[in-house]
Symmetry: C2
Subunit: 134 residues, 2 copies
DNA sequence: CTACATCTTCAAGTCGACTTTAGGTCAAGC
DNA sequence: GCTTGACCTAAAGTCGACTTGAAGATGTAG
């Protein structure tokens, strides 16, 4: 299938798909003339990449996670990434609860509300989901 | 307090603090000579900003959420952002479960595992936490 | 009073993740 | 056989979030 078909099915711009190809995140099955050809599986792979980046993984990280033929190291990596996500989820929940509270709180400024301030104590310093080896 | 003191207390680089000041995310209480002076409250504000960006909010979004003197519109905004986080949390949980499963799954490639593929169906198209008005 | 550590500004540089642009290729339909 | 539309590459541009660098000002210790 042609790249525009992939674009339609995945909802991603053609330019992005080409970019992911260049970066080695996806592979075409070959060329027809100079046109890249893809099979259906690339659509799932793209969905996975989109999900990954939506939760804060870099393209490089996604590349490592999506290597073909599950190697040992890969499974460990996946577990490690899952743990990172657990951490991240805690932060999100903290922030969400904080926001909901702030929205109904009577304190003049959110930063003057003790309940709101308490949530800040939970925060660690990491800015993104993953900074580990991969 | 001097900027380097703020840096020490917040764990952020001086350059970042100056940058946030330029961007209007924080305010100094004034200058002593040409040196910015800050009071303790800026440390909580910085913690809040860090938390926000760690969960995917842009600096501009954080700026809107942290305006002083809770205006009506602000509380609505906070609720809206909390809802966005709820969405985001669902995605994180989905991804985490998917990763954990993939790590123990027997399928040769994760993308061949039906359970793993199922999680992809949950995915929406949003890449970041917020693309709303603010 | 002078040295110097610490601040200042402003401009330019970096990085990831793309997008845009310019110029070129090719299969298909008229 | 020529036009057209979908594709191609390579290079440059963009955007957010900072960092770095150069050159200058200032508070404080000796």
């Amino acid at each position: 299938m042609d790249i525009s078909e992939v674009a339609k099915m995945s909802g991603l711009p053609v330019s992005t798909i080409r970019y992911y190809d260049e970066q080695g995140l996806i592979k075409s099955t070959g060329r027809s003339g100079l046109r890249r050809q893809f099979n259906n599986s690339v659509v799932e792979r793209l969905a996975m990449i989109s999900l990954g980046s939506s939760v804060g993984f870099s393209l490089l990280e996604m590349k490592h996670m999506l290597t073909e033929q599950g190697a040992e190291i890969n499974r460990e990596l996946l577990m490690a990434k899952a743990d990172e996500l657990d951490n991240q989820i805690k932060k999100l929940v903290t922030m969400r609860n904080g926001l909901r509270h702030a929205a109904i709180c009577a304190a003049p400024s959110h930063l003057e509300c003790p309940k709101f301030l308490r949530i800040l104590k939970v925060v660690s310093k990491r800015r993104t989901v993953g900074h580990s080896k991969y």
